[in-house]
């Protein structure tokens, strides 16, 4: 039982990162009805930028801020140059284009920073916290990760519910035509959605990098986990993405704890498949009647 609790707690940090990446997927989906499969590629790229900044300045914070700026820029560039011009009739085109971006970004990162895994410096202690006479599988760094995730989620929630921009984004996600008629600059709103997603992804990348390592392909598996979480959460729902992201992290942690971490992709696949069969619109999604 103690080991079960340990595994669950140990999954919180990684769960939060999956949640953030899922959140980024949801933000682009809400904005443009595109699942941005390049999201982890963008996050990988900005994390490399952060690593370069960190090496240059020695400051973790400057690196993080730099990654966030780069993430926003990259999101805008990808949306503006790649996704916006895709012909609407070409339904497969947007999906394929995002994979094109992913391949290009991974190759570009490999060109600039090389294909080998690199360690990302640990900004805070990575030793287990000891409390109440026992060691907990949670480090100070895990708490920082959770803290960042909470700040981002709360901030985004406030943005969506309390600001005009958030209202415009929700209206645009609900119905772009109506939003345009009511004077919302839809194009700009969509681009902002992608910028936000880029920021969230960049933060997730910088946060996850010290716990694993960073290489052009090292986030591929995170894409699968995040997609799983986002889809089970309903793709449309910020709360769903966060909740299911954490949930996925916990499940994977428990599974890895009791068996082997190499099972995680298989477990994610099974979770995804079962969910897609039972409830294709996700747990938090809205069922839409089929129109004939």
């Amino acid at each position: 039982m103690t080991s079960f609790i340990d595994y669950v707690l140990g999954g919180f940090g990684s769960g939060m990162i999956i949640a953030l990446m899922a959140l980024a997927l949801v933000l682009t989906w809400r904005a443009t009805r595109v699942v941005n499969f390049a999201q982890v590629g963008q996050a990988m790229f900005t994390t490399f930028i952060a690593l370069s900044l960190q090496t240059l300045t020695g400051s973790w914070v400057i690196a993080l801020v730099g990654a966030m700026v780069a993430g926003a820029l990259l999101g805008v560039i990808v949306q503006y140059l790649v996704l916006r011009p895709v012909k609407r009739a070409d339904t497969s085109g947007a999906i394929i284009a995002t994979f094109g971006v992913l391949i290009a970004l991974q190759a570009a990162a490999g060109m600039i920073w090389g294909g080998d895994s690199r360690a990302y410096p640990q900004p805070f202690g990575n030793t287990a916290i000891t409390l109440f006479g026992r060691e907990w599988p949670v480090s100070a760094y895990d708490l920082v990760v959770v803290g960042f995730a909470v700040i981002l989620v709360v901030g985004l929630t406030l943005l969506f519910t309390r600001t005009n921009l958030g209202l415009a984004m929700r209206a645009t996600a609900f119905n772009p035509e109506v939003a345009r008629l009511s004077g919302i600059r839809v194009g700009r709103t969509l681009t902002i959605g992608w910028a936000l997603a880029g920021i969230v992804g960049a933060v997730a990348g910088v946060l996850v990098a010290p716990t694993s390592a960073i290489s052009p392909n090292s986030f591929d598996i995170l894409l699968v986990f995040a997609f799983t979480a986002a889809v089970i959460g309903g793709l449309d729902s910020l709360i769903g993405a966060v909740a299911l992201g954490i949930g996925t992290g916990l499940i994977l942690s428990v599974v890895s704890g009791y068996s082997d971490s190499s099972n995680a992709p298989v477990v994610a696949l099974v979770l995804l498949a079962v969910n897609l069969v039972l409830k294709p619109e996700g747990v938090f999604g809205h069922h839409k009647a089929r129109s004939v």
Partner: protein, 260 residues
């Protein structure tokens, strides 16, 4: 249930069908019957549930309660793709053509095939033979609609009324005994309308035709019997003359125009 009386053995019918979608009562105990070998019209203001009636008949929308009669048989759960095998063909609102297939291929798609993917992968001669028969039938259907000259065009190269003819040809190529037409007159001109009228009248009594249509002139001209729906309920039924003078129908339509 009273509406049932005139047709003890209908070709197509809904018996007491209710449908709820997303908390809305789309159909409320609707009973409708279409006699064999006649043209039956289904009219009503927008949102009355006409297309939902078709969708229940063709299996796109499951009925929450009640039962469906298709081609004279009670069916429990019909799937759309089983319609042609039951001798029922349906057109869709708009045209519903396949943009990447030629007109001839579009029409041939309406004819059911007996062979599966393996026979096709091995290019068995009997598949070719079936294809030849299908092609002949498709050409006949195109001839009967006067558009045989367009057989190798893509739908997007044709004017809208011609596309609607192609869609009709696709429905006819399976030689259905029941034809469900969903707004066949939508977006076509006067000359096409007359052809359509002639086509519908010449389909009976060999086929049973059920028609959802907004164009009142056409409905009154071709239908033997009309059902009027409003807000998910049958509010009137009868011959065109009876419907024309029915106060409830007038009220429903006036109400719609008043609201608009």
């Amino acid at each position: 249930m009273g509406y049932y009386a005139p047709f003890p053995h209908p070709a197509v019918a809904l018996e007491d069908v209710s449908v709820r979608l997303g908390g809305l009562q789309i159909l409320d105990s609707v009973s409708i019957a279409a006699p064999r070998g006649a043209v039956t019209g289904l009219i009503g203001p927008n949102g009355a549930g006409k297309t939902t009636v078709f969708n229940v008949m063709s299996g796109f929308v499951p009925a929450d309660s009640g039962s469906v009669v298709l081609n004279g048989q009670h069916v429990h759960h019909v799937r759309p793709q089983q319609l042609t095998r039951r001798g029922v063909a349906r057109t869709l609102q708009g045209v519903g053509l396949f943009p990447s297939l030629t007109v001839l291929d579009n029409v041939m798609m309406g004819a059911p095939t007996r062979f599966g993917v393996i026979a096709d992968a091995l290019a068995m001669p009997w598949v070719d033979r079936e294809r030849r028969q299908m092609e002949e039938r498709a050409r006949e259907a195109l001839v009967s609609l006067g558009i045989e000259g367009e057989s190798s065009r893509l739908p997007s190269e044709l004017p809208y009324p011609v596309q609607k003819r192609v869609a009709l040809a696709r429905a006819l190529v399976s030689d259905p005994s029941v034809l469900l037409l969903d707004e066949p007159a939508g977006g076509i001109g006067e000359a096409d309308m007359q052809d359509l009228e002639r086509l519908i009248r010449s389909s009976v009594p060999d086929r049973t035709v059920v028609l959802v249509e907004h164009h009142m002139e056409l409905v009154m001209a071709v239908c033997d019997f009309i059902w009027v729906l409003d807000a998910g309920q049958v509010i009137a039924s009868g011959t065109p003359d009876q419907i024309r003078s029915d106060p409830a129908v007038l009220a429903a339509y006036l109400g719609e125009e008043g609201a608009a």
